[in-house]
């Protein structure tokens, strides 16, 4: 891949990183427009596969998708440029905020604003719970898992790390057990 194209790749992702406010999912339509519609770097199907893969991988979805697109277009240097481009705007902006934080965080009007912002953040986190629960069609018998998770994390300060490892092992063993039972039934 030639140099001007690598520069375009970096600038595209820089633009994506700069103009997506409100987290990773807000980035998806913008990445789609830039990568599929405008630059025609990959076709629709490859891109959809990338989203699915990015969702099943840990980490920020925007970074995951940048890795996927960058690698698809230009291998290792593609990954480096796409990831750097997508995180650099937020890195710079947060640095500026952190740098000046002590100057304005104690101002009364800012503190009052944060008194309003905090409950709003709770609402913004709580709403997706309902949307995800509806979308993922979880059977009500499965609700014990989120409930136990909340109690363990909030009241017993158990790290989510252990819950994730446990759930992965539990799902895997249950899967092995169920396949074995099905095979046993089909034999008899």
């Amino acid at each position: 891949m030639n140099k001007p194209k690598l520069l375009t790749l970096f600038l595209s992702f820089f633009k994506i990183g700069l103009f997506t406010i409100g987290g990773g999912y807000a980035m998806l339509p913008l990445i789609h427009r830039e990568v599929v519609d405008k630059q025609k770097w990959m076709d629709e199907e490859t891109f959809i596969d990338g989203i699915a893969a990015a969702q099943s991988c840990p980490g920020p979805i925007a970074v995951n998708l940048s890795v996927y697109v960058g690698f698809h277009i230009a291998g290792w240097s593609g990954i480096a440029l796409a990831v750097l481009g997508s995180i650099l705007p937020s890195f710079i902006i947060i640095l500026i905020i952190a740098l000046t934080f002590n100057n304005w965080s104690q101002v009364q009007i800012v503190q009052n604003a944060f008194n309003g912002l905090r409950p709003a953040v709770v609402a913004l986190i709580a709403v997706p719970v309902i949307q995800i629960a509806k979308k993922s069609r979880i059977r009500w018998q499965q609700y014990w898992l989120p409930l136990v998770a909340v109690v363990l994390v909030v009241f017993f300060h158990i790290s989510p790390v252990y819950l994730i490892i446990f759930t992965i092992l539990f799902s895997w063993i249950r899967h092995l057990y169920e396949t074995e039972r099905q095979e046993g039934e089909s034999k008899s």
């Binding site: 970074v63 709580a126 609700y143």
Partner: protein
């Protein structure tokens, strides 16, 4: 110090499944409860800031905490730590995804994690509520924002601007 922060954010990146919100419960657990680098309230404020600035929450929080604790290089290494697992794992998944997704065990694990993701988001909301529901005003703003977001699909930025304004007016 920087090394410990790098490892902590590497862990957060590695175990952040299902996007930004479930990851917040990890951030509270590691940053507030375990290492006491920030208080509940400071993390909640940080989430509000990162909702109003570009980029994924994880990156924003990592950069902010890194800088507060250890200046520029702190910010550099926490940010690197949080994205490194993504880069490594995503590369593997990108290479093998077409083969992985047809494997029943892969599907079973992904299905199994879904309810857990919901639990982790509820835990994150709980941690935030600790610093938000300090008076009646907080509960009222929460209910208003909740309805605006769920029923009227209001833009998060609009919700945050209005709630900040409500906070200023209420004094």
């Amino acid at each position: 110090m920087i090394w410990q922060m790098f490892i902590t954010f590497f862990k957060i990146g590695l175990f952040s499944i299902g996007g930004g919100y479930p990851m917040l419960s990890m951030i509270y657990q590691e940053i507030v409860i375990q290492h006491r680098w920030l208080s509940h309230q400071e993390v909640t404020d940080m989430i509000a800031i990162s909702q109003m600035t570009p980029g994924p929450i994880a990156i924003n929080v990592a950069t902010f905490i890194g800088y507060r604790q250890a200046g520029f290089w702190g910010a550099f290494f926490t940010t690197l730590g949080v994205i490194l697992p993504s880069i490594i794992l995503m590369l593997l998944i990108a290479l093998f995804y077409v083969r992985l997704r047809s494997k029943p065990w892969f599907y079973a694990i992904m299905q199994g994690l879904r309810p857990l993701v919901i639990g982790l988001i509820v835990a994150a909301a709980w941690f935030t509520a600790k610093s938000a529901f300090v008076n009646v005003f907080g509960v009222v703003v929460f209910l208003a924002c909740f309805v605006l977001s769920l029923k009227f699909k209001a833009n998060p930025i609009v919700i945050l601007l209005f709630s900040a304004l409500a906070g200023i007016i209420a004094g």
